[in-house]
Amino acid sequence: MAGQQTAIYRQMTRLAWRNVLRNWRHSLATILAIASGFIAVSLFDGFLEQLEYRNKDGYQTRAMLGHVLVQHKDAQYNSTEDQWLYAMTAQEQRFVEDFLQHDPDFLRRVRFLNISGMVNAGPYNTVFVGLGHDTKEGAEVRGPRWSWYTVAGVPLEQYPKSSVTIGIALGKLIDCESTYQGPPYILDAGNYVAEDRPFTCKYPRITMSATTEASQVNAIDVPVSGIFDAGFREADKRAVRLSLADAQRLMDTDKISLLSVELKDERMRKGFIKRLKAAAEAAHLELDILPWQEHTLAAFLQGGLDVLHVFRDLFMTIVVTIGIMSVANTMMKAVNERIREIGTLRSLGFLRQHLVYMFSMEGLFLSLLACALGLVGTVVLTVAIGMLRFKYRAGVLSAPIVLSVAWSWQAWILCTLVLMSLATGTAWFCSRRASRMVIADAMRHV
């Protein structure tokens, strides 16, 4: 008996497949509607994924934030009020370094110190707000894509001695500008070709003066090794970067503002944070240990992404609903036209559930074909968009980047499953009523 049923269902499945292939013209618009829905959702998801990836890359890699940030407690909220009160002391740093050396997930760390003061170059005098950081480890965290961050000159770690890199706009204020005339050097992701592009400074050495932690005056005299783009013009007018050692020398301190940790595997982050928190508590140290995404530094990004996610969800809902309407349309028509066929099949002994199953399978196959077509369309469009090399600004802080769409496998699979389920369900629903008709009435149907 069970075997007989299986055979019937197998037969109905074959029938459904033949029906779909035979009547593809009638279903073309539906296939196209579903396919376009698939393409829409896949492209948008791929675009979002690419944007998220770019932004994440920007923070994690380019800005050297790694996976986990460690700061003195509440520093992210209060350090603007009193930098030194909320800086990490030497004791806190020793504790963290010791922990990192013994932690199996640790890969590398970068320390940062926020600094501000005055830049003097000849008669020019202007404010700077910058960053001192571990240059070697910073370059490693930035990786091959971002390690070369200067538009002219060389990054700090490439220069043999103490030096400073300055923002483009700051350079303009002190007569320090790029003289590069060669081919474009900005790559698709906004990164640069790694080469020493020429620049000239009217005053090659600048003096950076600042008030130290103890409110004493200090100054260091350093050459400019490179010029970089800090993005936002107001930041670029003041931006400097130098090594942590030089920054600490300038501020006469052994404190740091922030420490970022890169792990061997990002997925180990939760466990790592838990261990470090427990160790800090045991050592009676008040530290904030958190993923960079939860830090105020990333608030700008997170806010933007949250909005985009809302967009995506709304968009998907609408597209899927419209797709379902199309399927419903097609299936209702198909069922209506084939009522006599239904009657015939019923008269031959097929049960209602067999017929409902057949139509459901037709819906399934229809959507499968549509999703396959959608996948082809997605691939073609993804490649085409990449080839267009259309540049756009992904927010106020960034240089224009090339519009691209990620290969979002998860979105494709999810989309297919959702569309197939919904199409099958719609077909099932539409066919139920027709299958309940009295056989004679069905066979007489015009």
């Binding site: 008669p123 404010v127 707000v129 200090n218 100054a219 300038l250």
Partner: protein, 265 residues
Amino acid sequence: MYKAPIRSLVTVFAVLSPLALGHASMASGAEGAPKAAPAAPVDAGQLLKDSDRARGAVGEGISWEIDVQTFEDGTTNQVHYQVKVKGVDALAEAMQPARNKGETMLFNDRNLWFFKPGLKKPVAISARQKLMGQAANGDIASTNYSRDYDGKISGEETVNGEACYKLDLKAKAKNVTYDGIRYWITKKDHLGWKAEFLTVSGEMFKSALFKYGNHLKIDGKELPFVSQMDINDALKPGSHTLIQYSQPHAEAHPESLFNINNLVR
């Protein structure tokens, strides 16, 4: 982040330079004209005390007037102050020009307040504000060498025709602006002749040249007193401040004169 060429603080601190005389002179009392340089070995600490003595601080107080001219970016500013000092407290009031008249600085040891007519209460000037831009001049003028620095004689040089001991001064604590000072004191009269104010990293930030054309009568004795201080900015060539002192005289000041609550009128 904030750039504040608080140049006029120069005036106030310049005014306060005789504070450098501080306690040492008061403790030892007015001892008449500085002695000739003692025979070797010369004690750096004593040299500092002697040089401080030459810059004032007597008994119940001292008063003088100063003219401060600042030259920066091709512009010149000039303000005339009346100064009253007692121990580590000082009060400086601008008398001219009219736009600056009434501007007052009160120095209670290391605390500095600024007041001018129209303000509802004095402005507390923080350590960081004192150090920004030209405000560094003020710290030079108010430097208390013997109190705040340990000295070591590193050699002898002739500066502007005067034979001098060269001293390397190191701050005793972190609560002074300049971590180190190179100081030249005349061998003959133990007067501070030239100073180079160094950053934590040992670079010269400011420099000052002194002249002692005034005399201060204390207990019938005449002491040389500073008449001019020329402060140069090492980071901004061509930018300097010239402070000229006049009419120094001993004058008893009540303690209440240096009370912050008296500033609010």
